[in-house]
Symmetry: C2
Subunit: 102 residues, 2 copies
DNA sequence: AAAACATATTGACATTTTTCTATGCGTATG
DNA sequence: CATACGCATAGAAAAATGTCAATATGTTTT
């Protein structure tokens, strides 16, 4: 799994806004449609729509269209990719100091 | 571990900028001082200093002052907290649909 | 077919973030 | 002790992001 720096930022942007974090908390109880999410968030409908796009772009959330409703849920595949990515980017290969002052 | 939505955003802001992701890649080979990081990034010194502050605030990176040098490294404790947080926020408790259209 | 409904898109504005130049502060060195 | 060095801070400009009102799009219902 070789993700670019840009791709990594897209994934973690999902968790860089308080409202989006709150959306995760709401989705933890299962799939919800946008209208239901809207009830619990102090946001306008277009703003929610914008956040859901950011979340879907990250891969951490997936949308499922059913008639005129959009159902959103947390993607376990997306979560696994994010976890692997976080693990990979924070892994340290060596431990000695490489500084100019060594 | 009960982190607020705000605290979560502070952690993951570390990975929302391409330059900061690149800094992680550089630190994966071990501790580096700011002057050395600066050589590999196309950034001014104050801009790097700003990014290092964001990284340290996230807890994913720690700084160690030695004389006039600042040595930065990836924090494994910080990484563990971020991993736990990501796991927790993407966990799903129920799987049935809770939508208004159920 | 028209009306109602759920969501997305557009365009504008406010806020936040990124970036730089200039400067300040602490530490080491001549 | 004066100077140089490494890094942080202040302030300003530019870019990106979050937000909303208005509107568009697609779907269901009457």
């Amino acid at each position: 799994m070789e993700l670019s720096n840009k791709q990594i930022t897209v994934i973690f942007k999902a968790l860089c806004d308080e409202n989006r974090v709150q959306i995760f908390r709401l989705l933890q109880n299962g799939e919800l449609c946008a209208c239901h999410l809207l009830e619990d968030l102090h946001l306008s409908q277009p703003t929610l729509s914008h956040h859901m796009k950011v979340l879907c772009d990250s891969g951490l959330v997936v949308g499922r269209k059913e008639g005129k409703w959009m159902h959103y849920s947390i993607s376990q595949e997306g979560a696994k990719i994010a976890m692997d990515c976080l693990k990979e980017i924070t892994a340290v290969n060596k431990s000695e100091c490489n500084c100019c002052n060594k």
